[in-house]
């Protein structure tokens, strides 16, 4: 038994009961500037269910000890729960083996880990790495840094104005110099769900391994890394109702085993002498130093919670809310939705005629509505669309039709102020 305390009631048989789910998120009781909070910045970070919050408190209050070190009860117990959560993550993303799950701080650290270990040992001068136009900066910059270090080149798969990767162009980028592809599963800025399985298959035809940035997919629908045949899959806890500072790198076992360590220090070694040290087996090889134990406990509680609700049920429910939002936003003359991808999840970006997103964000905030205004760490994508910034609303399992109605009313106020 773990110490995770799921609070969600199983609703799998009858779909997601959003009224019940909203009660699990205490922050939704808050008022902002005198209005009930409408939180539409879930792609940035999501809110946390009570069970996750309680689990973290419980860890610090009753269980706190370091892992993998003590011979005493507290440490043994903490180590056992920590490793149990690894197993829960494995099951949650359909990995074959627990050793394929490495705990990191988040997606950014995870991508840097892969770039600086796999990348540094497999990618060299004259080689090429493929990304897409819609990548988050965290799936561009680590590869640029690697390119500078080893003399490789970044190639960018173009997208249509609708926001879909042009698969023929993507395919034509592959050649004998291509050594890696790093692709977002879901765009954080415009919500495109990329045809990841097909894109991975194309890469594999050329024996090129693929890292999927799963930061925006794991919170919204069931993910099966084996079905996708992803070589690496990286995501953050905090965007999927778990704490900040905890994330996951999934890597195929044979790849992880041959990769050098990322950070050196305690917990990642087998033996140390001043002449030579040897590395612990995976995944410990990649988990140097004291990890975010409380974060792992919180992640475990969140996975229990999400499993209780059912990821397919969450997906079905959220898709309904997002479709409703697209429909309502489309009725406002001054609003232009950026990107109309074939498949969308969680995110809608838009501009308002004559109104900078920053002004809209300030005015909506006074109505208690939290949205993101800016470039969403996707400056190349903003450049592609010729806008310096957009308004972005992003949805979670607790958002409902009322949130969309409040958003639309808030936007009507914005338009009125600027008329």
């Amino acid at each position: 038994m773990s110490d995770a305390q799921p609070t969600g009631t199983s609703t799998k048989s009858r779909g997601l009961d959003v009224r019940e789910a909203r009660r699990d998120f205490p922050i939704l009781n808050r008022e902002i500037h005198g209005h009930p909070l409408v939180y539409l910045d879930n792609a940035n970070t999501s809110q946390k269910p009570q069970g996750t919050i309680d689990t973290i408190t419980h860890y610090y209050r009753d269980l706190n000890a370091n892992i993998h070190r003590g011979v005493y009860e507290l440490s043994l117990h903490t180590t056992r729960v920590y490793e149990e959560v690894r197993g829960k993550v494995r099951a949650f993303i359909g990995a074959a083996d627990e050793r394929e799950i490495v705990f990191v701080r988040g997606t950014t650290e995870g991508i840097n880990l892969v770039a600086q270990t796999y990348g540094r040992t497999h990618i060299g001068a004259g080689d090429e790495i493929i990304v897409t136009t819609m990548e988050h900066h965290s799936n561009i910059v680590p590869w640029q840094m690697l390119c500078e270090q080893v003399g490789a080149t970044l190639r960018v798969a173009p997208i249509t104005v609708e926001g879909d990767v042009i698969l023929d162009e993507y395919r034509s980028l592959f050649n004998k110099r291509t050594k890696f592809a790093a692709i977002s599963h879901v765009s954080n800025a415009i919500g495109t769900v990329n045809p990841a399985k097909e894109m991975i298959a194309i890469a594999h035809e050329h024996s090129v391994p693929v890292l999927l940035d799963g930061a925006q997919s794991v919170p919204h629908f069931p993910v099966d890394v084996q079905d996708l045949d992803a070589d690496f899959y990286v995501f953050s806890g905090h965007k999927m109702y778990a704490p900040t500072g905890i994330g996951v790198v999934y890597g195929k076992l044979n790849l992880l085993e041959e990769m050098p360590p990322f950070l050196g220090g305690g917990d990642m070694i087998l033996t140390v002498s001043f002449e030579k040290s040897t590395w612990a087996p995976v995944p410990q090889k990649f988990e140097a130093g004291t990890p975010n134990v409380a974060g792992v406990f919180g992640l475990g509680a969140t996975l229990d919670y999400l499993n209780g609700l059912g990821m397919s049920q969450i997906q079905e429910y959220e898709d309904g809310v997002v479709s409703y939002a697209v429909e309502r936003l489309s009725t406002l003359d001054d609003i232009t939705i950026i990107g109309t991808p074939r498949q969308r999840t969680g995110v809608i970006s838009f501009t308002i005629k004559g109104v900078h997103p920053h002004d809209a964000g300030t005015i909506l905030d006074r109505d208690g509505i939290a949205i993101r205004a800016g470039h969403h760490c996707s400056q190349p994508l903003m450049e592609f669309y010729g806008v310096p910034a957009t308004n972005r609303v992003s949805f979670g399992l607790y958002n409902n039709h009322n949130d969309v109605d409040r958003l639309v009313a808030g936007l009507e106020t914005v338009i009125e102020v600027f008329r």
Binding site: H356, P357, H358, D359, T362, R366, A373, M382, P388, F418
Partner: protein, 149 residues
């Protein structure tokens, strides 16, 4: 709504929609570019400085209403001022937009810039209101690109 109305006064919205002195300034001898990475506000200031006096000014860029209006009003205020007067005005303006929200702002010597007192209610927007001024300062100093970070 009241603090929003203070922030987005007609005067500010007018300068946002019809910015004054907009466009590159021919014959400028000082220029600088400012950038706010948080929201993507971008402004380039062109100055014609003769002796210790700013005899002409122009600007380009894209930004939110607060940023654009602040730059526009600044450009009107600074024409004909000495460099020392401009720097003094920046000091006063900075105090205006960063002062405690519950205090009555001192608007002495600020002229039209006083309309930006509502910004102090919105600390996250201070950078929008001051980007033009930081850029101006850089243009007067050495003409390097500045960011608000």
């Amino acid at each position: 709504m009241s603090d929003l109305r203070e922030l987005y006064q007609e005067f500010i919205l007018d300068h946002h929609k019809n910015p004054r002195n907009f466009g590159p300034l021919e014959g400028a001898n000082r220029t600088s570019e400012g950038y706010n990475p948080l929201c993507g506000d971008r402004v380039t200031i062109y100055l014609l400085v003769e002796g210790d006096r700013i005899s002409d000014i122009g600007f380009e860029g894209s930004g939110c209403a607060i940023c654009t209006a602040s730059t526009s009003v600044m450009s009107e205020m600074l024409k004909g001022k000495t460099v020392a007067e401009a720097e003094d005005l920046f000091g006063k303006f900075h105090e205006l937009v960063t002062g405690p929200p519950d205090e009555v702002p001192c608007t002495d010597g600020l002229g039209k810039l006083a309309v930006f007192f509502g910004v102090r209610e919105f600390p996250v927007r201070v950078k929008c209101a001051t980007l033009a001024w930081h850029t101006l300062k850089a243009a007067l100093r050495d003409g390097k690109t500045v960011t608000t970070e």
